[in-house]
Structure formats: C-alpha cells, structure tokens
C-alpha cells in the first residue's frame, strides 16, 4: 500500500499543530485578534489529521501483517508451532488487534474531546473579543501575507488529501482533508480581514474575527452532535469504521466538487436532461484550473498598466521611491501608461487637476436643501465659535484686567476650495493633507472670531472676516508645506446658533414693528394735514365771500335807500303807507293769520288764507271749529 497519503496526513497534522502554536504567538506579536480563532482551528485540524494518520497507519500495517501471514502459511502449509488457529484480529500483540482496539476506543473519543475543546475555546475567545476596545485601522500587511500563504498552502494540502480519500480504502483521509481545507478558508478570510483593516475598515477585521470564533464554536457543537449520533448508529461486524470527528460542515465548505455536483444536479433537474454530461460542461470542468491560473496571470499582467483619469496625476514609484528623471521621470499625466509590474513599480494617484473642497464649522449633510433658516440646523452637526462681545451700550472695549469678558457664540459655515500644486509635497508631506487643511482652517476661524465682536462677524464686517480667515488659511497651508493652493475661502453662512436664532429674528421683527408704527404716524399726518389745509382755505374763502357780499350788499342797499328816499321825499305819507301795506300783503300771503278784534278779545276772526286752520290756537282740541262755508271762508269763535 502506498504510504504517501498517510505521510501527507501526518504532515498535515504536524504542520497544523505547529501553525496553531505559531498563531498563538502571532496573536501577541502582530496584535490581530484573528490569530486566536485560527489557532483553535489549526489545532482542531491538526488533531483530526493526526487521528486520520494513525488510523491509516494501523490499517496499512494490519493489511501488511495479513499479507505476511498469508505468505507464511503458504510456505508451511502443514502447520507449525506458529500456525494461526483463529481470527488474526483476536491474536494478542497483532497489528490487526491494535487497529481494532483503536477503532473501538480511541477513534470515538476523538470527536467529543475535539468538540469540547472547540466550544470552550470559542466561548473564551468570544468573551475576550467582546472586551476589546473599539477597533482601529492598522496596516497588517505581514499578517495578511501570513494568513494568505498559510491558507493557500493548506488549501493545496487539503485538496490533495480529499482527492486521495476518494480511492478505495482511503476514506479515513477525508476528515483530514476537509479539516485542512476548512482551516485554509478561514485563513484566507483572515487575510481579507487584515487587508480591510489596512484599507481603513477595521470593523471588517473585527467582524471577521467574530465570524471565525462562531465557526469554531459551530464546529465544536457539530463534533459533539456527531458523537451522540454515533452512539445510536446501527453497526454490524463487517461495517466499515466510521469517522465521527469528520465535519460535514467543513466538508461542504472545502469541497467545491460537492457544490458543483449539487449545481449540476439542479441544472439537470431544471432542464430535463443531463446538462452536466454535455461537452460544454465537461470542457468547463477540465479547463477550470487552467482558466483560473490564466486569470491570475492576466490580473498580474494588468499591474503593468496604469490608467489615470482626467482629474488625476500620478507619481510613479520604482521600488518605493519616485522614478529618477534619468529613467523617465516620476510624473504621469492622465491617460494610459506602461510600467513595470507590481511590486517593482507602483503608481500613487493624486487628484491634482480637480478642485478639492473641505469645510469648517459643520459636519454631515445639508438637512434641508430647499431652504436655509437660522432657526433650523443647516447641517447634521454645527459647531459654534466663541466671539467677543463689546459693551452693548458704549461699544467700548472692556478695560484691561477685567475678569469677566462677555462672549457670544456664532455659527460659521466656511467652505474651503483648494487644488494640488506640488505632487511630491502633497503625497509625501502629510498623511492626510485634507485633514491638516481642515484643522488649519478651523483654527483660522477660531482665531478670527475670538478677536472680533459678534456683530463685526455678522454684519458689515463679514467680508473683512472672510478675507482675514482666507489670508490666514493660505499662510498656514503654505507654512505647513501641504503642496496645495487655496483657491477660495468663502463664508457660506454666518448666523447665531440655532437655539437663540429666534431672539435675533425678533429684533428684526421689532425693527419692522418700529417702522410700521412710524409709518402709521406718518399716514395720520398725511391724512390730517391736507384736510386741515383745505378746511383753512374754506374758512378763508367763506370769509372773503361774506366780505364781498357785505360790501356789495351795503352799496346796493345804500343806492336803493337813496332812490327810495327820493321817492319818499316826494310824498312821504303815501310812500310809507303803500310800502307798509305792500309789505303786509306780501308778508301775510302765506302765514296763518289770526286777527283779534279789539277791544273785545273774546271774538276772534279766523281768516283761512291758505289752508284749514287747526282747531284752536291756544288750546288745541278743546274748542270746536266754527262752521265755515268751505276753504277760504272766514268764521268767528268765542273765547272764554
């Protein structure tokens, strides 16, 4: 019987146990928690492989012993002192007996021990993981390389064992192969976690560690369940020995052929014919590995190409340093460039042609893009700045030495635009030039706001404030050697903090109220004064008219008098009498007239000259009216 698979299993056992020790050491050396679950999984895979190797060893030696016994019997067919009388497995000190005892007692004990160990390790690691501080991004290139190399090596080893386990009588090796394969996948996942941490996603590494701890616990529980199921499994004397420590989960994880078979069966079921038996399926199956290698080669060849976008420029590094001018220079513009493959030459991309932007005074997104009001937060978070406050009554600077300097708070939203002007300074001067610029700009706003009155920042001095901040940002950026040019510093918003914005708006409202009251007074004046002017003019004009009438009337009256006097002088008595009677006639034409006959006043002559006279003059309703002939008739009545 070939011993290579047995030795491979032994190699897997020893290497896995050594890897477990190395991982335990690596946990301390590298600082990544991923080493802890990998150590447990390596140990589990090593013990599984050791059990498989021992079973393979006993089986091989038992088979060889049987062959030797058969040869001896052929050489002395008549019997001898050492002739076998019963079953070889019952002979003491025989390898067959040892194999049977191992299969009966040792092999079933492996699974519960491994299960308990895995569950305990997962429990302890889960508690340790929960107690860790929040993860921080860290470059773990050595750890990622270690995990990747270990994973790929174990993947090859596990695949080798699984393939050999398909041979008749080699089924014991399958547990070792699947355990090595599952551990290989765990190592590759750990490598991905380390790379993610280096790329700035430490949570991925932490999550990967938690996932591996969970996988270890799951495998442990499965081992214990396998042991319980093994107790109730019906077995006959000739039944093949089972492997309760073989994980079905691991087998599913690391045996792609199982997935392929499942997929092929599904396709066959869906299409109604043996799709997996077609030429195309066979071709794909045969060429999968070469295609994989070809793809890897193509991917590696692509590292000889650099394509820079229209907003980018690149620094070509040869073995870590910018390529010398004698070798073609380091600056790469937008477009397609050939270079030596990684890791000999790499390109550091810089957005040198794009206007970059940072901001001060706020964080997060715009809360309401449709309207920007003082009384509502403009952004998810706004940081107010301290400003000085002059004495509101005198606008004077507080006297020196005064302890209580009144302060105000103001919110400032300051966008800062810049562009890269010096690639080498930008790339190699600061790890995060944008963060440095943001810090510088925030300092500038803090400094300028602290030396100004609130209303110098809010009001007419806003332009001066923005200019001072911009000058300070440019000077600081140049002094730090950020390799940038600040192209714009604007005050997008300056306003009182949101909690007191309504008080500031109420002042504006009060100004409106003041203006409203003033305008109401002016409206009253506008209404009253013209009316007064008109009334005065009316009075004056009335007086003028009266005067003119008086003058003309008096003159006319004088002239009339003179004419009448001349007439009177010719016949005074006649003139007076006629004038008197004419006047009486005219005057009494309309009124009601009562003539009292003198001296007897009991007799009253009633002359109805116009209309029916009321019943009585002095006692209405008491004296009956004297009968009259009709309208206009005269009558008399007696009075008591």
């Amino acid at each position: 019987m070939e011993r290579t698979p047995e030795r491979a299993a032994l190699f897997a056992a020893i290497s896995s146990l050594l890897l477990a020790v190395a991982s335990a050491v690596g946990r301390t050396a590298e600082g990544s928690f991923l080493f802890a679950p990998l150590a447990a999984l390596h140990a589990w895979a090593g013990l599984v492989a050791l059990a498989a190797a021992l079973r393979e060893f006993f089986a091989r030696r038992a088979a060889e012993e049987a062959v030797e016994a058969e040869a001896a019997r052929r050489e002395s067919p008549d019997g001898s002192l050492f002739a076998r009388t019963g079953d070889a497995a019952d002979e003491p000190f025989s390898m067959a007996r040892s194999a049977r005892l191992f299969e009966r007692w040792a092999s079933p004990a492996v699974a519960p021990l491994l299960g308990a160990g895995l569950v305990a390790a997962a429990w302890l690691q889960a508690r340790a993981l929960a107690a860790l501080p929040p993860p921080e991004a860290a470059v773990r290139t050595p750890a990622a390389g270690w995990f990747g190399a270990v994973g790929l090596a174990l993947l090859v080893l596990g695949r080798y064992l699984v393939v050999h386990a398909r041979a008749p009588g080699r089924g014991r090796l399958r547990a070792a192969g699947t355990a090595a394969g599952a551990t290989a996948l765990a190592a590759l996942a750990a490598a991905a976690g380390c790379l993610a941490s280096g790329a700035g996603y430490p949570a991925v590494e932490r999550g990967m560690a938690g996932g591996l701890v969970a996988v270890a616990g799951l495998l442990g529980i499965e081992q214990i369940l396998n042991t319980l199921l093994e107790l109730y499994r019906p077995r006959g004397r000739d039944a093949a020995p089972s492997s309760p420590y073989e994980s079905r989960i691991a087998r599913r994880l690391c045996d792609p052929s199982a997935w392929m078979r499942g997929a092929a069966e599904s396709l066959d079921y869906q299409f109604g014919f043996k799709v997996s038996q077609t030429w195309l399926a066979g071709f794909l199956g045969r060429t999968l590995a070469p295609l994989l290698l070809f793809q890897i080669a193509v991917l590696y060849a692509l590292t000889s190409v650099a394509v820079l976008g229209p907003d980018e420029e690149g620094i070509l590094e040869r073995l870590g340093r910018p390529r010398a001018e004698s070798a073609g220079g380091w600056r790469l513009g937008p477009g397609f460039h050939w270079k030596r493959p990684w890791p000999f030459e790499t390109v550091r991309r810089v957005p040198a042609r794009r206007l970059l932007e940072t901001h001060v005074g706020y964080e997060g997104r715009v809360t309401n893009p449709d309207e920007t009001l003082w009384t509502r937060p403009h952004f998810e978070r706004e940081d107010p700045f301290l400003t000085a406050a002059r004495d509101g009554a005198t606008s004077a600077v507080p006297p020196a030495g005064e302890a209580a300097v009144p302060v105000n708070l103001v919110s400032v939203n300051l966008p800062v635009e810049y562009r890269v002007t010096n690639l080498l300074q930008y790339a190699y001067g600061h790890r995060d030039p944008a963060a440095a610029l943001r810090a510088v700009a925030t300092r500038a706003v803090t400094r300028e706001a602290a030396g100004r009155d609130l209303f110098d920042v809010l009001g007419a001095g806003q332009a001066g404030f923005a200019k001072a901040v911009g000058d300070r940002v440019r000077d600081e950026a140049a002094a730090l050697g950020l390799g940038i040019e600040v192209t714009f510093v604007g005050v997008q918003g300056v306003h009182p903090p949101v909690p007191i914005a309504d008080a500031f708006e109420s002042v504006v409202g009060a100004l409106e109220e003041k203006e409203t009251a003033t305008l109401a007074g002016r409206a009253h004046a506008a209404r009253v004064l013209p009316a007064a002017s008109a009334a005065a003019e009316a009075v004056r004009l009335a007086a003028l008219a009266r005067r003119d009438g008086q003058v003309l009337g008096s003159r006319a009256e004088a002239e009339q008098f003179l004419v009448r006097k001349a007439a009177h002088d010719r016949s005074p008595a006649v003139y007076r009498g006629r004038a008197h009677l004419q006047t009486v006639q005219d005057a009494l034409a309309k009124p009601r007239l009562f003539v009292v006959a003198a001296p007897c006043d009991a007799e009253v002559l009633q002359l109805n000259l116009e209309e029916k006279i009321p019943s009585t003059l002095f006692d209405p309703g008491a004296i009956p009216v004297a009968p009259a002939a009709g309208p206009g008739a005269a009558g008399t009545e007696n009075r008591k």
Binding site: M1, E2, A138, G145, A149, A153, V156, R159, R166, A167, P168, G169, L292, L293, G320, R321, A388, E402, A403, V407, L409, H430, R431, A436, V440, T442, R443, T446, R447, G451, L480, P499, I500, A510, T516, T518, A526, V528, L529, A532, S533, A535, V539, R540, A543, R547, Q550, S554, R555, F561, R564, H568, R576, A579, H580, T583, V584, L593, V595, A598
Partner: protein, 314 residues
C-alpha cells in the same frame, strides 16, 4: 498489498503550478520588503534592533521569525484632540481642542518606546493635554477671547505648548511635533446655556427698545400733524375774521347814507325784517285795529301815517 494496486489520483499539474506560485509569493513576501517614500523602517533580528532604514528602496531580510522589518508612515500626521475642559488663570472653565502635527523622527526609538501609531496618538494626547492645561492656566480668559485682537494670546499659547511638548515627545517617543494649533474654543454646556440666555435677553432688550422707539415716533408724528392742523385752522379763522371785519367796515362806510334820513332807513329796514321773518309756516295774530284789518271792524280808512303794529310768533 502494494501501492500500485490502486490507480493514482489524477495529478493536476495546473494545481501544482498554482501551489508553487503561491509558495513562491509567500517566500518572496517573507524575504523582501519595499520601503516607500514617506515611510520609515526598522530592521530587527530576533527582536534586537539592527538599525533604521531611512531611504526608500528594496530591502531583503531573513524570513520570520529571524528578521522583521517594521515599516512606519513617516509623513506628518494630524492628531485632532477632543474638546477638553481646562481652567484659565482667573478660574474660568473653557473647552479647548488642539490639533497636533507630528511625524516619526527617530524610528528606532519610536519602535522601542511606542510601537504603533495608535499608541503614539494616545501618548501625544496625554503629553499635549498636560502642557495645554499648564499653559492655559497661566493666561486669563481675556487672553483667549477679546474684542481687542492685540490682547489675544492664542499664538503665544500655541507656541508655548509646542515648545514644551516638542522636546519631550522627541526624547520619549522619537516623535517630532511640527505644529500645535488651537482648533476650537468653547464653554461647558451649562455656561453655554447661560450665554444663550444672556444673548436672548440682550436681543429682547434691543427688540423692546426698537418697539418703544417706533411707538414714540408714531406719537410724535401724530402730535405734530394734529398741531399743524390746529395751527392752520386757527390761522384760517383769524384770516376769516379779518376779512369779515373788512366787509363790516366797507358796509359801515356804505351805510353812512342812511344818516340822511334815519327814520326812513329804519322804516325800510323794519319792512325788510318783517318780510323776511314771516315765512310760510308762520302764524300771525293781529288786532283788528291793525291796518288793513281795521277795515274788518268797520273803522274808517286808517291814516296811513299811523304806524302799523305787528306781532307774531311761531
């Protein structure tokens, strides 16, 4: 039983090639390190420091665990501190946040004393925080916020912190502090609320002042308008009186002609009054001896010279 009794599993040369490639890459990663521009590295052999690698380039090493090359980012990094409370010289609490630009100046010392950038940030935060408290405590509050820019001491505080923390950082951590800046100033939450209350009250006073000014202005304008109206009317009344007086004077001048026969003038005037006062709705009660009604009483024709007696009422 021989090993040749069973067929060999299919040997996949492609898989072997893949495995060989992986192993080669692993071997390469364990023996070669590229230090990039902007990085600093330290080579150790079995944990003992061999020396720093200052220049970028390709460096070989024995595989782990024999040799190890620790690579650090040597570019300037910005440590943005949190808002922390401290006291000024006059005992006023103030929140201050500093940013610190730092870089690894001595990689060997950095590796020995600090080890990782995370730990460096923690150490720097403690060091800078210590000198911040010590420096701010020597300045009054008005040196931090003051409407007179000349009275501010922010730059002096920053320089003092950098000057004090820089040598210590280099000596203890192998770190050079490139710059220290006061990123932001603030007040504790309780005081901030009080500041808001004061600002609110101040704005309220200003608003009330504006409202009062508006009301007083309106009253003044109304009063001025009313006064102007009354003045105009009074002036117009005076003018009217003067004009009427002129009319009276002119009439009096014309009435001098009545002096030629006052009796006749009075008689005519009486007749006018009599005619004008007796309207349509008047009621006149006369004696029967009043002409011409004396005719009703059978009297002879009255002498026209007799003065008529009139009476009436309404």
């Amino acid at each position: 039983m021989s090993g040749h009794d069973h067929p060999h599993p299919p040997r996949n040369r492609w898989m072997l090639a893949l495995g060989a490639l992986v192993l080669a890459l692993f071997a390469l990663s364990q023996t070669v390190v590229i230090v990039r521009q902007g990085e600093a590295a330290v080579r150790t052999t079995f944990g003992r420091v061999d020396g720093a690698i200052a220049e970028p380039g390709l460096y070989g090493r024995w595989p782990w665990p024999v040799q190890k090359i620790e690579v650090f980012d040597a570019r300037t990094q910005v440590l943005e501190g949190a808002l922390e409370q401290t006291l000024t010289q006059d005992g006023r609490p103030v929140l201050m946040s500093l940013y610190t630009g730092w870089r690894i100046a001595d990689p060997v010392r950095f590796l020995e004393r600090v080890g990782t950038p995370e730990q460096a940030r923690r150490n720097l935060a403690g060091l800078v925080g210590h000198w911040r408290n010590a420096t701010v405590g020597r300045h009054p509050f008005e040196a931090l916020v003051n409407p007179d820019p000349k009275a501010l001491k922010l730059e002096a505080i920053e320089m003092a912190i950098a000057g004090a923390a820089g040598p210590e950082a280099r000596e203890r951590y192998g770190i050079e502090i490139a710059t220290v800046g006061i990123r932001s100033l603030g007040l504790p939450q309780a005081i901030t609320e009080k500041v808001f209350d004061r600002m609110r009250a101040e704005r309220k006073a200003v608003a009330e002042r504006y409202r009062s000014e508006g009301e007083s202005e309106a009253v003044r304008i109304r009063a001025e308008a009313d006064s102007a109206r009354d003045s105009k009317l009074a002036a117009a009344d005076a003018e009217a009186r003067r004009i009427r007086a002129e009319g009276d004077a002119a009439a009096a001048e014309a009435y001098t002609v009545f002096e030629k026969d006052p009796g006749l003038a009075l008689f005519l005037r009486k007749l006018e009054v009599l005619e004008q006062t007796l309207g349509q709705r008047s009621t006149v009660v006369l004696g029967a001896d009043a002409p011409p009604f004396d005719l009703l009483a059978g009297a002879s024709n009255a002498a026209p010279a007799a003065a008529p007696s009139t009476g009436g009422g309404k």
